[in-house]
């Protein structure tokens, strides 16, 4: 066997791949479910916090900043472990799936709040004044004038964060979530062959490339001629 053949036999072993493909596919479904839940709840909560922060209620803003800094500073794995192994002591037990979802959604919430907030504050003061001078309320101005401009600015950094944090679903293996990486590594130890890991990598590509493309599209859609 040539070196090349040995390489292919090790990393792209047809028999092993065929055997574990169903496992990888079911792992993909779990990863997709997790990712969709994390993105929707994480970004939703992040936007909600940024909007609340724009009301400029001091004690509330201190609380928001504290929460946001906390979840930006903590490693996601630590949060997952705390929720999964720690909360049962407070009579709150979550499955590995829910623990992973909650943890990563909290982290995405924290990062996206900062991004949304930066977008909101970067909109020129004159936009607020023009809108308020025509009689629009604070909320109407925020929703109709400021937020559309802020969101456009936030799409690129938001996409990066969202992808980075969604990839963190792989951390779910620690609490026995059978997502892509979990399936791939158990297949790897059962078959004594790393081919399933390559399939896992391919699965991530298949999952995230469309997300990147979609984000580009969104960026273009929200752009306006200057």
């Amino acid at each position: 066997m040539s070196t090349w053949d040995r390489f292919v036999d090790t990393f792209f072993n047809g028999k092993v791949m065929a055997k574990y493909l169903p496992d990888i596919l079911s792992g993909m479904v779990v990863t997709i479910e997790l990712a969709v839940l994390i993105v929707i709840t994480g970004l939703g909560a992040g936007l909600a916090l940024a909007l609340i922060r724009s009301l400029a209620i001091r004690p509330l803003n201190w609380l928001i900043i504290f929460i946001v800094d906390l979840f930006r500073a903590l490693p996601p794995l630590v949060i997952i472990v705390l929720i999964y192994f720690g909360l049962p002591y407070a009579d709150l037990s979550f499955s590995g799936f829910v623990s992973t979802w909650l943890s990563l959604a909290l982290v995405l919430m924290a990062f996206s709040e900062e991004i949304f907030w930066a977008g909101i504050t970067s909109v020129h003061k004159g936009q607020w004044e023009a809108s308020r001078s025509t009689g629009l309320s604070f909320g109407q101005t925020l929703m109709n004038v400021v937020l559309p401009q802020a969101l456009r600015l936030t799409i690129p950094p938001l996409t990066n964060r969202t992808i980075a944090i969604t990839k963190g679903t792989a951390l779910g293996t620690v609490v026995a979530v059978t997502e892509i990486l979990g399936e791939a590594s158990s297949a790897m130890s059962n078959s004594y062959n790393p081919s399933p890991l390559m399939m896992g990598a391919a699965a991530y590509l298949v999952l995230f490339l469309p997300v990147v493309v979609l984000a580009r599209r969104l960026e273009r859609k929200f752009a306006w001629k200057r």
Binding site: H124, G126, Q127, E129, A130, S131, R132, S133, T134, G135, L136, S137, Q140, N144, V145, P148, Q149, R152, W224, K225, R226
Partner: protein, 247 residues
């Protein structure tokens, strides 16, 4: 004058921290009057204008516009602001909307018009500023002069009782100033009450009913344009007008 004043501001004081920007300003404006406010930068003229629709909160004093006590906490400020149009130095058009979108936003959200009705009123307002054919353009596709005219349309679409102009031509290239002044002149002809902060002395001379000279947070003197420009009573006014006219 027997005509009732539509704007009646009394003893307006404004502090920014330790800075005392307005030191007790009284300003009465009659219906259909065009009042020009001039003065060196930092004299408080823009701040005074911004106090009138409460974009700036006066530290003390009273402001009544069209019978509405602007400083009364019970006043619905968003409702009151519909009656007071404001045009800014930097236009402040919404860059993500078309010209028509800019003009119709408040019509729909504040005046409660249907989209069709708002579009109709919006197009009429754009027509009045000579931009009927630009309704689908975004601000980025318009020249500065056109943007400022859209901004004027955005205000007049709400049929305000008073219009405030805060240095409306200061950010424009010289060749674009004329088109904006032209729109202001036609507004005046239609009987709009206007308070204008500007350095366009030529316009002040032939369009204003009254010129108010401010310096250091106070109104130094006021009167008919010819009077202020030809025979200012105060040295400070004379010095300011001399400086402006040398350019």
């Amino acid at each position: 004058m027997a005509t009732p004043s539509i704007v009646d501001a009394r003893a307006i004081h404004k502090h920014f921290g330790a800075l005392h920007v307005l030191k007790g300003v009284d300003l009465k404006v009659a219906e259909r009057e065009l009042v020009f406010v001039i003065g060196p930068s930092g004299s408080g003229k823009s701040t005074l204008l911004r106090c009138l629709n409460r974009l700036e909160e006066p530290s003390s004093g009273s402001i009544v516009v069209d019978g509405i006590d602007m400083l009364d906490p019970r006043t619905d400020i968003n409702h009151a602001r519909q009656r007071i149009g404001m045009v800014f130095q930097s236009f402040n058009l919404y860059p993500h909307m078309t010209a028509l979108g800019n003009v119709t936003l408040a019509l729909r959200k504040v005046a409660g018009k249907s989209r069709a009705e708002a579009d109709r009123l919006g197009r009429a307002a754009l027509e009045r500023v000579g931009l009927a054919d630009r309704s689908e353009h975004t601000p980025g596709q318009l020249s500065g002069g056109q943007q400022q005219r859209v901004a004027i349309a955005r205000s007049i679409a709400l049929e305000p009782r008073v219009m405030l102009f805060d240095e409306p031509t200061s950010a424009l290239d010289p060749e674009l100033v004329g088109s904006v002044l032209e729109v202001m002149r036609s507004l005046r002809m239609s009987g709009m009450t206007m308070i204008v902060v500007s350095h366009e002395m030529g316009f002040a001379r032939n369009a204003a009913d009254r010129v108010v000279f401010m310096d250091d947070g106070l109104i130094v003197e006021q009167g008919a344009p010819a009077e202020i420009f030809e025979h200012p009573a105060h040295d400070r006014t004379r010095a300011f007008i001399g400086q402006i006219q040398r350019h």
